[in-house]
């Protein structure tokens, strides 16, 4: 179980050469996510989704609140939690000068996977994503599709329990997006917990079991897509979002 409890994140933003001002990226956010569940974190650009996911992934520290994964938090057991999660963002680039095989091997070594087990796991992943033909090719020479498959495969090497996917389909065409969406659905079947951030509300509506709708750093709705539609008396999440914010949107 993944629990986000009253999490806030404050940054100091530079206004000019001399002055800085406090900026609340996330404000008192709480929700839970269970195994076998896809939780969509949705909201417009600048809503605070990336900061929230970075805190859940343990690469940023909340100013207030805590993140608890399987009863443990980052302060007491950072490494144990990190071994359970996989983080993938839409704009993450991979190391250009190594091959997919080397990338998977390096990640596996960080996860302390024994050498013989790691080789088997890498081979299984390579087979699953059809990477045999380019596994020893430098990543910089891969096609967009091959590159994308390599990025996803990296997340699987330690067989994580939780996936944190930050706008994974952002900027991708229909075919490439399908690869990601199929992967997410398959991992759900494997009883994995998936946090899926996106600003494509239709996409979230289609794959998510639960929606956490964020605007200007605050949660404006939590529930199943059906519950949010009912709550806002709309037929889709997009209209629901606008109904919740009063019809107008201003980016922070």
């Amino acid at each position: 179980m993944l629990e986000v409890k009253n999490v806030s994140k404050q940054f100091q933003k530079k206004i000019n050469q001399k002055e800085t001002a406090s900026f609340l990226a996330d404000n008192n956010i709480s929700f839970t996510a269970k195994e076998g569940e896809i939780v969509g974190i949705i909201g417009p650009n600048g809503a605070g989704k990336t900061t929230l996911l970075r805190m859940i992934a343990g690469i940023m520290t909340p100013t207030e609140g805590e993140i608890i994964i399987d009863g443990e938090n980052y302060k007491t057991n950072e490494i144990a939690i990190k071994k359970k999660i996989a983080f993938l963002t839409g704009n993450t680039k991979l190391y250009k000068d190594i091959s997919p095989y080397e990338l998977l091997k390096m990640c596996g070594e960080y996860y302390d996977i024994p050498k013989n087990k790691l080789d088997d796991r890498i081979n299984a992943i390579i087979k699953r994503f059809g990477m045999e033909s380019f596994k020893h090719q430098r990543i910089e020479t891969l096609s967009t599709g091959q590159y994308q498959r390599t990025g996803i495969s990296r997340c699987l090497v330690h067989n994580p329990k939780y996936y944190i996917l930050d706008e994974p389909t952002s900027g991708l065409d229909v075919i490439s997006s399908k690869v990601i969406l199929d992967f997410v659905k398959e991992e759900k079947k494997n009883n994995k917990c998936i946090l899926y951030s996106t600003h494509y509300m239709e996409e979230a509506e289609n794959i998510c079991d639960k929606i956490v709708m964020i605007n200007k750093g605050s949660v404006i709705a939590i529930g199943t897509p059906e519950e949010i539609r009912k709550q806002t008396n709309t037929t889709n999440l997009r209209d629901g979002f606008f109904a919740l914010i009063g019809g107008s949107y201003e980016e922070k």
């Binding site: 940054f11 970075r54 992934a57 343990g58 690469i59 940023m60 520290t61 950072e78 490494i79 990190k82 071994k83 999660i85 996989a86 983080f87 963002t89 704009n91 993450t92 680039k93 991979l94 190391y95 000068d97 190594i98 080397e102 390096m106 990640c107 070594e109 960080y110 996860y111 302390d112 990296r154 944190i164």
Partner: protein, 387 residues
């Protein structure tokens, strides 16, 4: 800190850097420039000043007495007698002689025919020196015949050259000092170049590409990650400087047997040992400075610009030497300047253990300060994400 995470990070950084052609050139190509420079300078200097072993063939069309032959020999001129100017010209054109002297008995004048390029052959200027010396010998002979002491005639004035501090100026070893200064500055600069390149790749490029964010989600702490990146930077610095150092020593050793200008260069076991120690400690310090300087940069370009400051600082010792600032004990406490100066001392045969201790000791103190600063800096999310 978990050792295996640090080792994986070091391996990752080194693999990445050794697959980069630019870095390969800096590590392996750059020291060859130093070697090339050492030989080029030796060649140039010997061409201008001339080496004891180099003799110059000249042609004359007059009988030489024993005194003249002795003076010619002193100036490394080997005379050949020709009947007339035409024969000498022909021999000159064939390259058999480098200069020829035509003596016109009627006018009592010696005309020296030589190339106008003194750099190409100094034989012409040696021929002038020979005639000046012979002229003085004849003058001395005349004065003695008149019962006058030549010293009274030529000793009217005497001169000496000294520095404003009263030290005698000697040009002996000045040239080797200059070449050594440039070479050792280049060795320290090679550390800076390699370290900046490595630090840029390890920090700024990872930030720019977003790979730093990904790697921080793996089971590795920030301290382990930064330690791994720092050690990889130091290894590259050591590798680069040791290659440069060894190649410089080999070049000087070979050049010493080829060119007289390098006769003052001395190599002892102590100088090699301490030279390597200096390269290692300098790499630890410069590596830390390179990471601190490049860590605030969000892009590769910004990091390179920040790293250039370090590279410029590395040239400072050479500039100080050009403007003739003598080293004082304070030099051995100033990082980078101390490293170049102590390497110069070691290979001039002036090993001073106090200065060596000050250099190594002060560098270790600076390393500790830089590491404290580095770890503190990387605890900040602003440095990691520019947040």
């Amino acid at each position: 800190m978990k050792k295996s995470n640090i080792i994986i990070t070091i391996k990752k950084e080194l693999r990445s850097i050794f697959r980069d052609k630019k870095t390969i050139f800096i590590i392996f190509g750059f020291p060859f420039i130093i070697a090339f420079f050492i030989f080029l300078f030796g060649q140039m200097e010997d061409s201008m000043v001339g080496s004891e072993s180099v003799k110059y063939n000249i042609g004359v069309n007059y009988e030489l007495n024993s005194t003249e032959k002795s003076i010619l020999n002193e100036y490394r001129l080997v005379p050949t007698y020709y009947k007339n100017i035409s024969e000498m010209k022909e021999a000159y054109n064939k390259g058999e002689i480098e200069t020829y002297i035509d003596f016109n008995q009627e006018k009592n004048i010696y005309i020296i025919y030589s190339s106008d390029d003194i750099m190409a052959s100094p034989a012409g200027s040696y021929a002038i020196s020979y005639l000046d010396a012979y002229n003085k010998y004849l003058g001395d002979l005349y004065l003695k015949g008149e019962d006058i002491d030549p010293e009274i005639v030529y000793g009217k004035i005497t001169y000496e050259m000294k520095t404003p501090d009263g030290e005698e100026i000697s040009t002996d070893g000045m040239m080797i000092d200059m070449v050594m200064d440039i070479s050792f500055t280049y060795i320290i600069m090679a550390i800076a170049m390699a370290a900046v390149n490595m630090a840029t790749s390890a920090i700024a490029t990872e930030k720019e590409n977003g790979t730093l964010e990904t790697i921080l989600t793996l089971p590795i702490t920030t301290s382990e990650l930064i330690t791994g990146k720092y050690i990889a930077t130091v290894i590259i610095g050591i590798f680069s400087s040791i290659i440069g150092f060894i190649l410089t020593l080999i070049s000087f050793s070979i050049a010493r047997n080829m060119y007289e200008v390098y006769e003052g260069f001395s190599i002892t076991f102590g100088a090699i040992f301490f030279g390597i120690i200096i390269c290692i400690v300098a790499s630890f310090l410069i590596g830390a400075i390179a990471i601190v300087l490049t860590s605030s940069a969000k892009t590769y370009k910004e990091a390179q610009a920040a790293g250039q400051i370090l590279q410029i600082v590395c040239i400072a010792p050479m500039i100080l030497s050009y403007i003739n600032i003598s080293s004082t004990i304070a030099f051995y406490l100033i990082p980078i300047l101390s490293h170049t100066t102590i390497l110069m001392d070691l290979y001039s045969g002036n090993i001073n253990y106090l200065n060596l201790f000050l250099t190594i000791g002060s560098t270790l103190v600076y390393i500790v300060i830089m590491l404290y600063f580095l770890i503190k800096k990387f605890k900040s999310e602003k440095v990691l994400f520019g947040a």
